[in-house]
């Protein structure tokens, strides 16, 4: 058995194999503080809400934190920002630990292989991802998993580009960051991230329309369609504008970064994944802008992941299973040598 874990700014998703199926377990990476009282606890228990109580304060975790935030008009707290553990959130690590423990569950056996996705260092922000990487790795290791970390963009390539011998450009447009990896025959040639994602869109739309961020996020996730015929002053219009700006920004940075390397002379397919690449029309917009940008590499085709939200977790599971397979093979060799 092996597991994959995508620790994202918005969602923490675990993937594992069960018979012929892959099971994805998802939890929002958010929490909301409420005042503790017997009545509140009874209500939360009867509604089967995920919460913890410490020092007279209730912390609602996961998806319910988002729902309660919308109901009470409060802003949920997020343990992660820009793809890494938030330095401004004092309870970030304990909350991530709790959510990861719930989502991941106990290992099937000691040293079960677990592959975690990690963001690459951003090129447009003064930020280093090493601390985040080591913290998440340590959290999983304490749960008796044998942990491995791979770049988020590479996980997309593992999940979506097997038909192309794992050669291509994997782009994961998440909430905090956009991760990009260029790989040739499963070997990463270039990995970087861009400090904008779904959260940036939410913030900008929230500022311009005056709607709370959670509300904007809910509109976005409720089947928003990216098109350019919208009502004046509608959140959809603002979302379309900022989605367009995000795509332009990603492609501009991608082109800038590609100019610094000498990639192999082959045609690269592009795979888009991540929660923020889900809206209808996103693929079309992205492909059009990508073709217009005249990149430093030849693009064969642009495809969207089958399940954009789960693509990174699936890529991690593939990497974990490969790692597990390698270990088993190595074990066999050792036994046969003996």
């Amino acid at each position: 058995m092996a597991k994959g874990l995508d620790i994202g700014t918005m969602n923490i998703i675990c993937s594992e194999r069960e018979n012929e199926d892959v099971v994805f377990t998802r939890q929002r990476n958010a929490f909301l503080e409420l005042e503790s009282s017997d009545l509140t606890k009874t209500m939360l228990d009867s509604a089967k809400v995920l919460y913890i109580e410490k020092d007279g304060v209730i912390n609602v975790l996961g998806e319910d934190a988002f729902k309660f935030a919308t109901i009470f008009g409060k802003e949920s707290r997020r343990p992660m920002k820009h793809g890494i553990i938030s330095p401004k959130e004092k309870d970030a690590i304990p909350m991530i630990k709790l959510i990861v423990e719930r989502v991941l569950g106990e290992p099937g056996h000691r040293n079960e292989v677990l592959c975690i996705s990690s963001p690459a260092d951003p090129i447009d922000m003064d930020m280093n991802t090493l601390y985040h990487k080591k913290m998440t790795e340590a959290l999983a290791r304490r749960m008796a998993y044998e942990t491995h970390v791979i770049d988020e963009g590479l996980a997309v390539i593992y999940s979506e580009l097997s038909d192309y011998n794992f050669t291509g450009l994997g782009i994961s447009i998440g909430a905090g960051l956009t991760n990009v990896t260029l790989a040739y025959l499963a070997t990463p040639v270039m990995s970087f991230s861009i400090g904008r994602g779904g959260d940036w869109i939410d913030e900008q739309v929230s500022i311009t329309t005056g709607l709370p961020k959670e509300h904007v996020c809910a509109i976005k996730e409720r089947g928003f369609k990216l098109n350019f015929e919208v009502e004046f002053g509608s959140p959809d219009g603002a979302l379309s504008i900022y989605y367009d700006a995000l795509v332009t920004y990603i492609i501009k940075n991608l082109n800038r970064k590609l100019a610094e390397i000498t990639p192999p002379k082959v045609e690269f397919p592009v795979a888009l994944a991540g929660g923020s690449s889900q809206p209808n029309g996103f693929l079309k917009t992205f492909e059009r802008k990508l073709r217009d940008a005249k990149l430093q590499i030849d693009i064969s085709n642009v495809k969207q992941a089958k399940d954009p939200l789960y693509s990174v977790a699936r890529g991690c599971l593939i990497a974990a299973r490969t790692q597990e397979g390698g270990d088993v093979e190595e074990g066999k060799t050792e036994v046969s040598k003996k």
Binding site: E20, Q27, I52, G105, L130, R142, Y158, F166
Partner: protein
């Protein structure tokens, strides 16, 4: 070129002045010290000037010999023919030896000895040219021959001494290393090397860290906390990609290696091959020249006997 990068290597520079590594790259610097190798001095320009002088000497000697053969020079030939033959061969011989000396590393006073020897030989040839054939009588003939022979022997002796020193030092690179192999690195390359080395060391050191468990005392969990792990979806998926990935990463047990590693190994291999070829080529040429000269000297001595 960043000077700070070099100062970081100062200890290694002190210990091993000829081989300086920066990341995976080897910088070959010409430095001076007081050991047996350090006594021997060299310079790129001097080496090439020496080569040119050596070539000029060969040309003059060949011209002199060719002139003698064409004019069929003998003891009764015209004085100007004899004069020209001796001037060509005399100057040629001196230049050959001077060139060989200059191509070699020199001891502290090596270049002075070469200059003095060439001056003495040329002075002898000048006297010969001015006095032959009208005033060509003893004891002037003896003086001229003695002067020329002294200069010639000084050059041979100096070359011989240097060869012996070089053999004692036992370092083939002593002759082979020249300025053309000095590589310069721009700030970007140096920064990239430093960044990569730093990243690797940080990641390695961080992997040794052990974290104590977080304090969870006094935390009460809600009823639902132990009941559900989160929203679950189940998708039919045979995950064939895992096999493909394993095949792509390790086809036939191939070692996994990133493009950076491949680039590095290729570059190192290329440099090693190029450096080996240059060193071997120069060493072989030098060895052939010295051996040939020694053999011809021995043969000449035997013939005279």
């Amino acid at each position: 070129m960043s000077t700070t990068s070099f100062s970081a290597k100062s200890v290694e520079l002190f210990q091993n002045p000829l081989n300086i590594y920066m990341g995976n790259k080897k910088l070959l610097l010409m430095v001076d010290n007081t050991n047996s190798v350090g006594i021997l001095r060299r310079g790129t320009v001097v080496y090439y000037v020496g080569s040119a002088i050596f070539a000029a000497g060969i040309a003059l000697l060949a011209a002199g010999v060719a002139f003698a053969m064409i004019q069929r020079i003998h003891y009764g030939s015209e004085p100007w023919e004899i004069l020209l033959f001796f001037i060509f061969t005399g100057v040629g011989g001196t230049l050959i030896l001077a060139g060989i000396n200059m191509m070699m590393k020199q001891t502290r006073y090596g270049y002075y000895i070469i200059a003095a020897s060439v001056f003495v030989s040329f002075f002898a040839l000048l006297i010969f040219a001015r006095n032959y054939s009208n005033n060509w009588y003893y004891p002037l003939v003896s003086y001229v021959i003695a002067l020329y022979t002294a200069g010639f022997l000084l050059l041979v002796g100096n070359a011989f001494a240097n060869v012996i020193l070089w053999m004692i030092s036992g370092k083939p690179e002593a002759v082979g290393l020249r300025g053309e192999e000095i590589k310069t690195y721009n700030d970007e390359e140096i920064e990239r090397d430093i960044e990569e080395a730093t990243r690797k060391s940080i990641e390695l050191s961080a992997s040794e860290l052990k974290f104590r468990n977080l304090d969870v005392e006094g935390v009460k969990f809600g009823k639902a906390f132990r009941e559900t792990r989160g929203d679950t979806i189940r998708i039919k998926d045979n995950m064939e990609e895992a096999k493909s990935l394993e095949e792509a990463i390790k086809p036939g047990g191939k070692i996994k290696s990133g493009s950076v590693e491949v680039d590095k190994i290729s570059m190192q291999l290329g440099e090693a091959m190029r450096k080996g070829a240059v060193e071997k080529g120069r060493f072989e040429t030098f060895k052939a020249v010295v051996t040939g000269k020694i053999r011809s000297l021995v043969r000449l001595t035997q013939l005279k006997k």
